[in-house]
């Protein structure tokens, strides 16, 4: 997103104030982005456009039904993501591929023994981290990448992911654990490579 574009929060403020045309900016910016989110979640191409349109309509409806965007509470992208995520999860429910989980299962300790947690370098910019993640995420392979996305982005439970992928909970648990370890190591190595890190990200 370039700097000369009007800020999302300003566009929403103008829309809430009655200037409907301001919402076009939001629609044009986020339709494709939500399509991308839905695709990454594993939703078929035939339905991703519907999810994007529904999500944007939900944003439109916040004008009259509460839950308005409030810039004091966070970034617009995080807010619209929550709306899109709701629509994505709804799709899974509607298509019978979702198993609602009542409560947490409490297996965190099995997955993440003390000291095993990788870390993202705090000294780097977001662009540098994205560059590293883009590289390493692609190396995970399709199945692991999807598991990571379902768990860390959509925040689905292990059983839900297993159901979606036609696998078992233990497979999902193990693959996610290994994927995290590999991802942490890969990011570390990527950023340590000369020409990458800060310079590499800037060059992309």
């Amino acid at each position: 997103m370039t700097e000369d574009l009007e800020d999302d929060a300003v566009l929403m403020e103008r829309y809430y104030a009655g200037e409907n045309v301001a919402f076009d900016g939001i629609r044009l910016r986020y339709f494709g982005r939500i399509v991308g989110w839905a695709r990454k979640a594993g939703i078929p191409d035939a339905d991703v456009d519907d999810i994007a349109a529904e999500s944007l309509l939900h944003v439109v409806c916040t004008k009259g039904f509460g839950n308005r965007f409030d810039p004091a509470k966070g970034r617009f992208q995080a807010w619209i993501w929550m709306i899109a995520r709701h629509c994505i999860l709804d799709w899974f429910r509607r298509n019978g591929r979702f198993v609602p989980m009542p409560e947490d299962q409490g297996d965190e300790c099995i997955l993440h023994p003390a000291g095993a947690e990788p870390d993202l370098p705090t000294r780097l910019s977001e662009a540098e981290l994205k560059s590293a993640l883009r590289h390493c995420y692609r190396l995970l392979g399709e199945l692991d990448a999807r598991i990571v996305y379902h768990r860390w982005v959509l925040e689905l439970h292990y059983k839900e992911i297993a159901r979606l992928l036609g696998s078992t909970e233990s497979v999902v648990t193990n693959r996610l654990h290994n994927a995290k370890r590999r991802l942490g190591k890969c990011i570390e190595q990527y950023l340590a490579t000369p020409g990458r890190g800060a310079q590499g990200a800037a060059a992309q």
């Binding site: 339709f31 494709g32 989110w37 990454k40 456009d49 944007l56 993640l133 999807r146 768990r151």
Partner: protein, 258 residues
């Protein structure tokens, strides 16, 4: 289970990465584009709340009825602001002439199949699906109804162990009537109907309760000479919520519509 700092951070970065995909071709950037069914004739997205809930402007009505994209958005709008039961009943009585037929089919299929089934039972029991559609639409206008949902922690009303454990008050503002359904101290399921006697001194009431169980409907005629009416709806234990928590209560003046 909460995500760790690392997982949260990576999750957020992944979400913001626009050019990755797990098993499909990469999406390079986000060229501004529209829904694949969108046309230049479609009304703006921002006009849907007003258009659906009130009236469409500038000849949009005809287009919205025929456009698959607009029908999907109408259905999506109803997911946020559900249509009233009269609208759904009107669709059931004469779906061919219902202006947002595709949207209603999609909405009911995706969101509220239970309500659809209950309303169909109600209309069928009243014979409204068999008489001429125009007459049925007129009869519909004389009925006041509400959907009520019992608390989910009590999936079966018949299992209520404590007196007054179930208590659901349904208010019909247009008629100034309220109906409270509860289990009394002896364990009998009852309904209390409270009505302003001075307003309806010379009229007869009917109350109809329809759920997903068997029998499909319970009907009660109420004398106008009392202010509060209590009636036992033992059969409604199965009638109302045998297979779910939702039921439809309709109230009307005069004789039961047949």
């Amino acid at each position: 289970m909460k995500l760790t700092q690392f997982e949260l951070a990576v999750g957020q970065l992944l979400r913001d990465l626009d050019d990755i995909s797990t098993d499909r071709q990469s999406i390079s950037g986000h060229p501004a584009r529209e829904h694949y069914q969108h046309t230049s004739e479609c009304p703006p997205l921002t006009s849907f709340p007003e258009g659906v809930s009130q009236n469409w402007e500038d000849g949009y009505r005809e287009h919205v009825s025929a456009c698959p994209y607009c029908q999907k958005l109408v259905a999506a709008y109803w997911a946020v602001a559900p249509p009233n039961w009269e609208m759904i009943a009107s669709y059931l009585i004469d779906s061919a002439r219902f202006p947002d037929r595709s949207a209603m089919e999609r909405y009911l299929e995706l969101e509220h199949p239970v309500q659809l089934e209950i309303l169909r039972r109600f209309l069928d029991s009243r014979g409204l699906l068999l008489i001429p559609k125009q007459v049925a639409q007129e009869v519909l206008k004389s009925i006041i109804g509400l959907f009520i949902t019992f608390p989910k922690r009590h999936p079966d009303l018949s299992q209520a162990a404590l007196p007054n454990e179930f208590s659901s008050c349904v208010v019909f503002p247009a008629l100034d009537i309220s109906v409270r359904i509860f289990r009394d101290t002896e364990g009998t399921l009852q309904a209390h109907l409270a009505l302003p006697r001075e307003r309806y001194a010379a009229e007869e009431f009917w109350v109809s309760i329809c759920g997903t169980g068997q029998p499909i409907i319970g009907e009660f005629r109420i004398s106008p000479s009392v202010a509060t009416v209590a009636f036992t709806i033992g059969t409604a234990t199965q009638l109302v919520i045998e297979q779910g928590n939702e039921c439809f209560i309709a109230v009307g003046l005069g004789a039961l519509p047949k």
